[in-house]
């Protein structure tokens, strides 16, 4: 376990800001204590400082996870967000998409979102902007990337993809083994 290097921090925050923008600082400056990001076995974990200190007691081999896993660095040095980060992306997300209940299931099975399944979308969403996907009852379902801007969505064909799938909570079951 170690703090992120400058380069890692840059990559990581860049990725994160894609979804929550400047709200990143809300993740770090929290009123209920000091929170931090830590690097452990290619993964980035987010937790309270006290928890982190306690977790550092355990040996590298024995420590599996602590706090919340945000994602992992690939071998090529890119950062990939995991669905486990959804709990922290959802409240701060700047751009959101709501799915019709009929499209929920297909999204949870790992498919992209069609125009026909789109319930609502935040105004002024740019193309290729990271968005958090909600169900109509405001349960966060995952996140992805807008394939079309809001304006384009209006005019597009019902079978056109509007959101590229990146992560969804169905992965808790489908990819439990590779989650971390």
């Amino acid at each position: 376990m170690r703090p992120l290097t400058d380069e890692e921090t840059k990559t990581f925050f860049e990725k994160l800001s894609h979804y929550i923008g400047e709200n990143i600082k809300l993740l770090i400056d929290r009123p209920d204590g000091i929170y931090c990001f830590r690097y452990h076995k290619d993964r980035v974990y987010y937790c309270k400082e006290t928890l982190m200190k306690f977790a550092s007691n355990f040996g590298r081999d024995h420590l599996i996870s602590f706090g919340t896993n945000f994602g992992k660095f690939t071998k090529t040095g890119k950062f990939r967000l995991h669905v486990t980060a959804l709990d922290f992306l959802a409240p701060y997300a700047k751009f959101k998409v709501w799915l019709k209940s009929t499209a929920e299931q297909t999204f949870l099975y790992g498919h992209h979102v069609m125009k026909s399944g789109l319930g609502r979308i935040t105004e002024n969403t740019e193309q290729y902007q990271g968005v958090v996907v909600y169900s109509m009852s405001d349960v966060p379902l995952g996140f992805g990337v807008a394939a079309k801007s809001t304006a384009q969505c209006r005019t597009s064909d019902p079978m056109n993809i509007v959101i590229f799938h990146q992560a969804d909570i169905g992965q808790y079951i489908r990819e439990e083994d590779t989650l971390i």
Partner: protein
């Protein structure tokens, strides 16, 4: 009497074709429903014969009377024969061939004729009696009815009486019998005699039956030859079940139902082998189970054949039970609260969607979790801002419940020895939105190297699995004494480690909850540590054993709780809550001089293979204990409290400032 019938009748018959007879019967039943009198059921016809005999006998005696009424009779006959003739004519018109059936038809015909003839006779009798003996009680109106009504009715009523006798009419009859004797018709007298006879017969039959029952109650065990012969064949389950039932009955009241010369042991051993075959357990396990459930072994085994209901636990970090229930009902689930004892549990009766794949499940709103695994956490009652340990966490159900109770504050260490199973823990804890957990993979016994001074420790020990037989049937066959012993050994070590990890000086805690899904003996003497059993806070469940066979355990074992599949419809479960009293090693009674508490003798958690020495210590402990213990305990606790007051206050002030901010933040998270 039917044979002696009237000529008129015969004359009518002569006109019949055998072919048309069949039609006639049918016609009489269909078309002329109001004239149904002539068609009599066979059994009635049989009765007739009897009554006819009687009446013939009577005839002799009352010839005179008969003669007197000859005229009336003749008139009646004429009327009836007219009716019949009409009937016949009508039927003759319907020409149908039914030769095959002609025989039966002929019989029917006979009956009809018989009834007709009988009617004649009975009319005679009736009339006679009305005029002579029964004039006083038979009203004229009634006689009229009888005259018009066919003898069929009369016979029916008589027949009813006959059958009614068997049930209980005879009692009332017997009372009035003597009084009425004089007034009765001869037929009735005969009937009464018959009734009496029947009653006697019935009594005799009942006695015989009773005797038979008594004889079968002494159940004889099959001989050795029978058994050896049977063992080659596939077991006949029906037979086995019957035998099990029989033996259980014998054992239920052994002294009176036993087969003299057969010992109780041979009954029991036969029962054991039968149960093993029937339910598919091995001998060792069955023996142990039978020792634990001497009375309700069958219920226990049956309960193991049935699946427990699916239960889910609401994740209070993300939703409320009412909201969750509403959402799930909308998805087509049929559910109910689990019971009064839990505010977060729901029982799912049936569902149209997979429980483990609804968006609510994936969103971490609930966890599929056996009702029994709520209990240890409820007993542990983790508080906010504590540092707690779950020593055997996988798959994370209890850990997430602990975190929910702690409202994501403090620290939870979720440890498991099996790395593969930890993946489920990771998935579940993240899904449930738990942020205060540290997931580690180490042997439970080593965990003290990395961390100690936990406030509360939950040890859900790896076990023999005898409590969850309904989930995994293989337990039945593949657990033997060695497995159980290994299990016990491991559990003992883990429990000792758990106690060592716990901090006795903790302000809020110092508790260890030890639970396991085994119902077999698992809890061991903890004479090496200063702990005592405290109430689990669960107000249901069975108390733990304070005695088992020849073992006598510490009386405080009554604080532990046992849950059985057949009585509580939960998985078999054992929960014990321990309070750590001091951080030093060694049993409490060894430190008598050190601390006042030490007067409270060592507490034992235990069941089975207790060594002689431990037995001795527990006995000694019991002797010394009763009166002193409780006041001393309190005193010591008070001292402890005062000692920590200062530290606690500091802690609290810190925590409150932290916690308020935390909750507000959390709400924001959850929107």
């Amino acid at each position: 009497m039917g044979r002696k019938l009237n000529v008129g009748k015969k004359a009518v018959e002569v006109g019949f074709n055998p072919d048309t007879k069949s039609k006639r019967v049918r016609a009489s039943s269909r078309k002329n429903k109001r004239q149904q009198e002539p068609v009599l059921p066979k059994f009635l016809a049989g009765d007739e014969a009897e009554t006819k005999k009687l009446s013939s006998h009577q005839k002799k005696r009352k010839k005179l009377a008969l003669l007197k009424e000859a005229e009336k009779k003749a008139q009646k006959l004429a009327k009836q024969s007219n009716k019949k003739a009409k009937l016949v004519e009508r039927q003759n018109q319907n020409k149908v061939n039914g030769r095959a059936k002609s025989k039966s038809k002929a019989e029917a015909e006979e009956e009809i004729n018989g009834s007709a003839s009988e009617s004649d006779e009975s009319f005679v009798e009736d009339d006679v009696n009305f005029k002579d003996d029964n004039a006083d009680w038979l009203t004229p109106k009634k006689t009229g009815v009888q005259l018009h009504g066919s003898e069929d009715d009369e016979e029916m009523s008589e027949d009813e009486e006959m059958s009614g006798d068997e049930e209980g009419d005879d009692v009332s009859d017997a009372e009035s019998e003597e009084e009425d004797e004089a007034n009765l018709l001869p037929i009735e007298r005969k009937a009464k005699k018959l009734r009496q006879k029947e009653v006697v017969d019935k009594q005799l039959a009942q006695e015989e039956l009773d005797m038979n029952i008594k004889q079968t109650e002494v159940y004889k065990l099959p001989s050795g030859q029978d058994i050896s012969r049977d063992s080659n064949l596939a077991p006949d389950l029906e037979l086995l079940k019957q035998r099990i039932r029989d033996i259980m009955q014998v054992l239920g009241d052994f002294s009176s139902r036993r087969d003299s010369g057969t010992s109780r042991q041979s009954y029991v051993s036969q029962l054991r082998t039968d149960l093993c075959t029937y339910y598919g357990y091995n001998e060792f396990l069955m023996e142990k189970l039978m020792e634990i459930f001497p009375q309700d072994i069958i219920e226990f085994l049956e309960a193991n054949e049935i699946d427990r209901p699916v239960t889910i636990r609401t994740n209070t970090l993300k939703t409320r039970r009412r909201d969750l229930a509403q959402a799930l009902i909308n998805r087509g689930m049929n559910l109910d609260p689990i019971g009064k004892w839990s505010k977060v549990g729901l029982v799912v009766y049936d569902t149209q969607v997979p429980i483990g794949a609804t968006p609510e499940y994936l969103g971490g709103h609930y966890m599929i979790q056996g009702g029994s695994s709520f209990l240890p956490v409820m007993a542990l009652a983790p508080q906010q801002h504590e540092k707690n340990l779950d020593m055997a966490a996988a798959p994370g159900g209890k850990t997430s419940y602990m975190a929910a109770l702690m409202q994501n504050t403090g620290t939870i260490v979720a440890n498991d020895k099996n790395k593969a199973r930890l993946k489920a823990v990771i998935g579940n804890l993240h899904r449930m939105g738990i942020t205060n957990s540290v997931i580690t993979n180490s042997d439970g016994k080593d965990i003290i190297k990395y961390a100690n001074n936990f406030d509360r420790v939950l040890l859900d020990a790896p076990c023999s699995g005898t409590g969850v037989i309904s989930k995994d049937q293989s337990v039945k066959a593949n657990k033997d004494e060695v497995d159980i012993a290994k299990c016990s050994q491991l559990q003992r070590q883990l429990l000792l480690t758990a106690i060592d990890c716990c901090d006795a000086k903790s302000s809020s805690g110092g508790y260890i909850v030890y639970s396991t899904c085994s119902i077999l003996v698992i809890d061991y003497v903890l004479k090496k540590r200063a702990v005592k059993l405290v109430s689990t806070g669960l107000d249901f469940g069975k108390e733990g054993f304070s005695q088992y066979k020849y073992h006598r355990f510490h009386p405080s074992l009554k604080h532990t709780r046992r849950f059985y599949p057949h009585t509580h419809n939960l998985d078999g479960f054992f929960v014990a809550k321990l309070k750590k009293l001091a951080n030093m090693e060694g049993a409490a009674d060894e430190r008598v001089t050190d601390e006042p508490m030490a007067a409270e003798p060592m507490e034992t958690v235990d069941s089975e293979p207790v060594t002689e020495t431990t037995k001795a210590t527990t006995k000694a402990a019991r002797k010394s204990k009763p009166s002193k213990s409780s006041p001393k305990k309190k005193q010591w606790n008070r001292l402890k409290k005062i000692e920590k007051m200062g530290r606690q206050k500091k802690l609290q002030s810190q925590e409150t400032s932290g916690s308020t901010g935390n909750t507000s933040r959390k709400r924001k998270h959850l929107k």
